[in-house]
Symmetry: C2
Subunit: 384 residues, 2 copies
């Protein structure tokens, strides 16, 4: 049975106060829902997305067989997050380029009606969670059965448990971290510099110039891809394979500017593809939201104190070869939650795929999530 | 006692055949020597440099107190490689921008006398070693007491033992690898793309345009710096420190384009500094030499077979947190050498500094190298 997804949009006229002190007025959120909200309104699951994703979490669009949602292997009828039992909501975050109000939309404060561009306010994980909570209000959902996300999406799930502790029963935090390390911030910064110093960026107002800082976006994406994969899986998939080996004794072309190795070809392709559809200002905003997230900051770096507000139950999952959001970072969260005597399940999956593993099929990973949602489902039935 | 270094240059009129099939004619190598060649001409030590270094290995230039050579902590009077006992040679590689013939020099094949630029032939580790061997010929040195290098310099040291097995008694290979992994090549490729797609690059002939692709060079260097450091040392040195915390409750400035974290400031500074002095074509050439090096390639990937030609004794050193040239890669070389019953010493130093460790002072590292050169020195005395 194919799950058909239908994107929706919700407009908000009341201004959203942002963590920076600015406010966003007259904005819209794109979202999708799958499954049916039960009579008790108790089976809602919110899915939070990471850098390069959207509200299109599961299913396909009518007549577009190849348009699977980004977490379609995880969410759908009979899947680990079973839409026959749960009412699943995917929502696109503010600042995105996939539907919700972002830098490509008209700035209501600009007299000439021009788009926000670089003037789009800096948004944080906390701001996104506040916006998501307002969306739930409009859907008549007071309490989530679960909030779930991977990577940056996991940060949102964690933040939900701190900002709205009474509105979440379970949080599923996959391949995430309580904040970025210096190395993570460093990779983000290099990507941002590549974009900002691209002459086609024009200080972020490239739309008015009819340009797109594609050079910068390509570099940003190439860097990203390296950090999403593990060294092992890169060696296994590409190794030192040549794109077009010269027949005979010496296989090299001796070129510095052309592709010689398969890994170069792969990265260039990924960069080119990304630069065609992703917005540069969105890239800056989303990477900055990643950098800024740090719930322990207001507690002098004490994560246990920071997580004391959480009330729900947790499932955390990490992947052994993920060096971007390593198991060590998940263990920090597990420890801080246990310090607060919270109910925490934790699975460290031995997978070769690096950070990307959270989007891939792994029977143990799928099994852990499936069991966890089974138990949520049973507790809902018991309550009903 | 201060070691005063004096750069020298040796011109070669006989063309150097390159691995690519091209040849380099009418070229010069910059070099420096420290200490005294003994009567038997048996105490020469050749130092090979890595990406961002030169023939200026040790000592300072007269009247320039701050001009220490890049391995001055390792090489000099009374240091691990003791110039009171050894005649040490530092040589700048072909294609460099620090003195030896490179892309910034006039192309003898160009009718208009313009500089090589992107037309400088692709050079390999093997080509560099051949050029170094010719320099030794002019110095009257048939056999090296030792050849030594770190990182890309270690690849040259290893290649010496394969190309000129009878001219090397010892090879000291530090923080190196028998070839690059896919991830290493990937980082090099992103850096090269940043340079090549900088509009100021002009296909590599930017000199004629009076431009320098500084944007690309900055990005390249920022990426490099991330990979030279370990995650641990980055967290220790920078962590999530803010450059200029806002007084009061919320320390953030909420900016996507300005510096917020210290690590960003550090990387931008390193990028800016590098773009002022390093040549973009040199960057392409040197990273490509790294990519191409793979002595096992001609043996179907069998490193043991590839290293069977080596005759000398070896010291290999790696550093526990070096993820660019990890201990695993050094162990591959150790195994391949032991498969051939070569005399190998191996030290795996538990150091927090990542790949950079090979340039830093660590008492165990210095001690291992010092002991190794002591024993070389004693064997020279015994032979004399």
């Amino acid at each position: 049975m194919t799950l058909i997804a239908t994107p929706q949009s919700q407009h908000f006229s009341e201004a959203l106060p942002l963590q920076s002190g600015a406010a966003l007025r007259d904005y819209a959120l794109s979202f999708e829902t799958y499954g049916t909200l039960n009579a008790e309104r108790s089976n809602a699951v919110l899915i939070c997305h990471a850098l390069n994703a959207s509200h299109h979490v599961a299913g396909v669009y009518a007549g577009q067989d190849k348009s699977e949602g980004w977490w379609d292997n995880m969410i759908g009828p009979g899947k680990p997050v079973d839409t026959n039992r749960f009412f699943v909501i995917g929502v696109n975050n503010l600042g995105s380029c996939f539907g919700s109000t972002g830098p490509m939309h008209p700035n209501p404060d600009a007299a000439d009606g021009r788009v926000y561009g670089a003037d789009f306010p800096v948004v944080t994980v906390e701001d996104w969670v506040n916006a998501q909570a307002r969306l739930l209000d409009t859907l008549g959902i007071q309490t989530l059965a679960a909030v779930m996300g991977g990577s940056l999406g996991g940060m949102q799930a964690l933040s939900w448990t701190l900002q709205y502790p009474d509105r979440v029963r379970h949080a599923v935090v996959v391949a995430s971290a309580p904040n970025l390390t210096a190395e993570n911030i460093a990779f983000n910064e290099v990507a941002r510099r590549a974009i900002v110093t691209d002459p086609d960026f024009h200080g972020g107002h490239y739309y008015a110039h009819g340009t797109v800082p594609k050079r910068g976006l390509r570099i940003a994406r190439m860097i990203g891809h390296i950090t999403y994969l593990s060294d092992d899986v890169m060696n296994e998939k590409f190794g030192r394979q040549l794109k077009d080996a010269v027949l005979g004794k010496d296989p090299y072309h001796y070129t510095t500017q052309d592709v010689e190795f398969q890994i170069e070809s792969y990265l260039r392709y990924q960069g080119d593809k990304f630069a065609e559809y992703f917005d540069a200002n969105t890239y800056l905003l989303i990477t900055r939201a990643l950098d800024y997230f740090d719930p322990a900051l207001a507690f002098g770096g004490d994560l246990s104190q920071a997580l004391a507000r959480a009330r729900c139950k947790f499932l955390l999952v990490s992947f052994s070869t993920d060096w971007r959001f390593s198991p060590k970072r998940s263990r920090e969260m597990v420890k801080a939650l246990l310090d607060n005597r919270r109910d925490v399940s934790y699975a460290e999956i031995d997978a070769p795929h690096g950070h990307d593993a959270f989007l891939l099929d792994d029977p143990r990973y799928m099994g852990v999530v499936s069991s966890y949602f089974d138990s949520i489902s049973r507790s809902l039935e018991a309550t009903a």
